[in-house]
Amino acid sequence: MEAIKTVSLTKIYGSNVGVENLNLEVFSGETFGFLGPNGSGKTTTVRLLNCIIRPTSGRAKVGGYDILSESEKVKRITGLLPETPGIYERLTAHEFLEFIGSLYDVPQPILKRRINDLLDFFELGDRGDELLEGFSKGMKQKVLLASALIHDPEIVFLDEPTSGLDPVSSRMVKDLIKMLSSETNKTFFICTHILPLAEEVCERIGIIDRGQLKEVGSPEELKEKYGAKNLEEVFLQVTGKNVTKDMIEWV
């Protein structure tokens, strides 16, 4: 069964194309990697699928719910780690997670337990009462990850989940995704630049460039198709990005 299905999904900002005719299927319980260069339309796709912005044309269903007519239901079953970390700096980690949890109507006793569990999991248990303004970028990222999971969503969208994390925390996030994916049947939609992460945790991968979906398949399928040793080579071939010699000469 499809967790996410888009049909000719298009978003145009004035004269700029955000996403154009996106036709994509992500299956339930799958970990899907969405790769693309900067400004290729990854974040726009995530915002569309989370009903934060409205498409210019086309349709999409998330968890079987239509993103236009059933947006509230979509929002309840999805969790989002945004690309840019929006956080209330003058709240403590505990207070911030309580704030986000209450926006999803998580009952108070359950919310308290989840906050403690998540803070412990991300090794922030002893810093839960500290104001977020004193947290490092990686620590804030962990709090945001926790906030994406606080209401136990069926489908989790992670936009650059390991951005700013140290290698240990990055490993922890990868393990968390793998564990949740295998044991809870959650669907993960991961936008990332970090190709080893995608190669390691994603079952299938989609590559988007200038708003258009260029390729979809498992890492193995894509490597075979392009005769590449790794995903990086596939990515460079699909997007056509190469460093030119001219530039290197003057640098």
């Binding site: 915002r47 989370n50 009903c51 934060i52 912005i53 409205r54 509230e72 929002k75 309840r76 999805t78 989002l80 945004p82 840019t84 970390p85 929006g86 956080i87 209330y88 700096e89 003058r90 709240l91 403590t92 207070e95 911030f96 309580e98 704030f99 986000i100 209450s102 926006l103 999803y104 109507d105 108070q108 009462d129 500290e130 104001l131 303004e133 004193g134 906030s147």
Partner: protein, 593 residues
């Protein structure tokens, strides 16, 4: 290109980085310099062509009342010069204080110190950065000259200002302005490089708010009093003395009180003032140069201070209990985010100065012998203006700051099922929770200030609360419709104007609804006041005051009409508030979507 010029150019670009202002980058300096030229030429011309006509008309009017005057000859030839000192003091205050406020404000608005790493890692000397900052602030000079000279238009209409007089006035204003900018740039840079923490930033923001309000009060006081000798050390009064000397060619001021003329020496006199101002200018630059050698950017680093909050206080617990969940949680979170910033609280509390101004004004009117000509009606109208302004500004001290730097979190909130609606209602709840106690204090202060005119404290309180509720809802709706996420931005001004106009319309409509039952009184009062104007002074003023007093106090006796008017105005407020919130929620849901 010299380094300081590169810094100045960059700062200038940052200053004009908005979508609209960006287009003005090339033309603005030309426009501003042209403006100064126009001011220098226009003021003497206006003075030459208009003052004579006005003076002749005034003489002719005076001739009609000559028989009533104790000294007819003096009456014709002696002109009240106190207006020059009053307007000059306002000009001086603007010229000296606005540059300080603006220059410190610019420093505060700049991004965190860490983001200056790019600039600081280049081979720049601190002196280049400071001179660059000073240079870019010079853009204020023509604006200050314009604003200050606008204040002098009444002077130009009363006295003939020669080109030499205008040159002297502009020189004085320029000296005051340059001194203000230099002092502010040096002081704020010095402070930031010594202790660049958030606390200093908060303290400076609070200081800025207090300075702004003090300037308001200062202008008011200076405009109402003539050469207070105990304030001789104020640079703004030196500017006033110079302007007085330039306009009247004299160091003696003439105050006209009724039919009596008082001659008072201006202290300090014009030339002494000029010497003092020039000395201050030179000294401040010398002192600045000394400070410059002590400024060092290399030690700047942002200090992280972990603040631990163990237990929620009574205030937040009470809100949690009194509001339904999840609104209570969201409101408490919003409140914590707002109240944990010192500058937010300082700015919010500064609104209390509005009733304090009115209170001080009413006291001045009672005790200052030069104020015998002022009427209770003028106090009432001015107080009414401040009353409405305070009611509108109070929520505007909260709502815009809820949005600052929250664009990213808006996406998170938009992602949640009823997030936007909850956000808007929590903003409303937060603002009302903060505003209600403040409204009570302000209403009581306004009542004390206007006690001599009359009125019921319960009415003051009810009207203030009603106004704050309405303006809060309107401002919330306006900001939800047109959110502004940067501290600096034209959007704040536009939103403020929209809120002010909308609230003003509702308050006016409310006033009309409440006054409708009084129309019979008005119908009687109007011809009486008109007739009173034909009577000789001071009978005319006394009769007008008596009629106004009766109009204010003689409320209709029919309670049904009074209640109907109050209910209708209340309903109007509720409808406008609800519509604004509804519209704002809908717009915010669609924001950038």
């Amino acid at each position: 290109m010299p380094s300081w010029l590169a810094v100045a150019k960059n700062e200038y670009r940052l200053m004009l980085s908005g979508r609209v202002t960006r287009r003005l980058r090339r033309i603005l300096p030309v426009m501003l310099v042209s403006l100064v030229v126009v001011i220098a030429v226009a003021l003497p011309l206006v003075s030459r062509f208009l003052f004579l006509e006005l003076r002749v008309r005034e003489y002719l009017e005076d001739m009609l009342t000559l028989p009533l005057r104790p000294d007819p000859v003096l009456s014709l030839f002696i002109v009240d010069t106190s207006i020059v000192l009053r307007m000059g003091a306002i000009s001086g205050t603007l010229a000296f204080v606005i540059p300080i406020l603006a220059a410190i404000g610019r420093q505060l608005e700049e991004v965190e110190v860490v983001s200056k790493d790019v600039v600081l890692s280049s081979p720049l000397k601190p002196v280049h950065v400071i001179i660059g900052e000073f240079m870019v602030n010079l853009i204020m000079l023509p604006v200050i000259l314009l604003v200050s000279t606008i204040m002098l238009v009444p002077v130009a209409l009363t006295f003939y200002l020669t080109f030499q007089a205008v040159a002297l006035i502009l020189t004085a204003i320029t000296l005051a302005c340059l001194t203000g900018i230099w002092v502010a740039v040096i002081a704020s840079t010095y402070l930031f490089t010594r202790e660049p923490t958030g606390k200093i930033k908060s303290a400076l923001k609070a200081l800025l708010g207090a300075l702004g309000v003090s300037m308001g009060i200062g202008i008011l006081f200076l405009s109402m009093s003539v050469t207070p000798p105990n304030l001789w050390f104020l640079p703004s009064l030196w500017v006033a003395s110079i302007i007085h000397f330039a306009a009247t060619q004299s160091n003696i001021t003439i105050i006209k009180i009724g039919f009596t003329y008082l001659l008072m020496p201006v202290q300090p006199d014009g030339w002494t003032s000029f010497i003092l101002l020039a000395s201050l200018f030179v000294l401040s630059f010398l002192m600045g140069a000394v400070c410059l050698s002590k400024v060092n950017f290399t030690g700047i680093e942002k200090k992280e201070e972990a603040l631990i909050v163990k237990k929620e206080n009574f205030f937040y617990r009470a809100i949690r209990r009194s509001l339904p969940s999840p609104l209570s949680v969201v409101t408490v979170s919003q409140l914590k985010e707002f109240t944990r910033r010192t500058d937010n609280i300082a700015r919010f509390l500064s609104v209390i100065m509005f009733p304090v101004i009115v209170l001080l004004m009413s006291k001045m009117m009672q005790f200052d012998f030069t104020k015998v000509g002022e009427t209770l009606v003028s106090l009432a109208s001015l107080s009414g203006f401040y009353f409405v302004l305070a009611g509108v500004i109070l929520p505007m001290m909260i709502i815009p700051y809820i949005f600052i730097d929250t664009k990213d979190i808006l996406w998170t909130i938009k992602k949640t099922p009823r997030g936007v609606k909850l956000l808007v209602y929590s903003m409303l709840a937060e603002t009302i929770i903060l505003c209600v106690p403040m409204s009570i204090v302000m209403a009581l202060l306004f009542y004390l200030a206007m006690w001599s005119i009359g009125g019921n404290p319960a009415v003051f309180l009810a009207v203030m609360l009603f106004m704050v509720f309405v303006s809060t809802a309107i401002a919330t709706g306006v900001y939800a419709s047109r959110p502004v996420f940067k501290e600096k931005g034209l959007g704040h001004f536009v939103n403020f104007v929209i809120t002010l106009i909308a609230t003003g319309l509702v308050v006016s409509a409310t006033f009309i609804l409440l006054v409708i039952p009084w129309i019979p009184n008005l119908l009687v009062a109007e011809p009486l006041i008109k007739a009173a104007s034909w009577l000789p002074q001071p009978t005319s003023t006394l009769v007008s005051q008596a009629v106004a007093f009766l109009l204010i106090n003689a409320a209709p006796k029919d309670p049904f009409i009074q209640i109907a008017g109050a209910v209708a105005s209340f309903m109007l407020g509720v409808v406008v508030a609800y519509t604004s919130i509804k519209r704002g929620t809908r717009k915010l849901e669609l924001y950038e979507g």
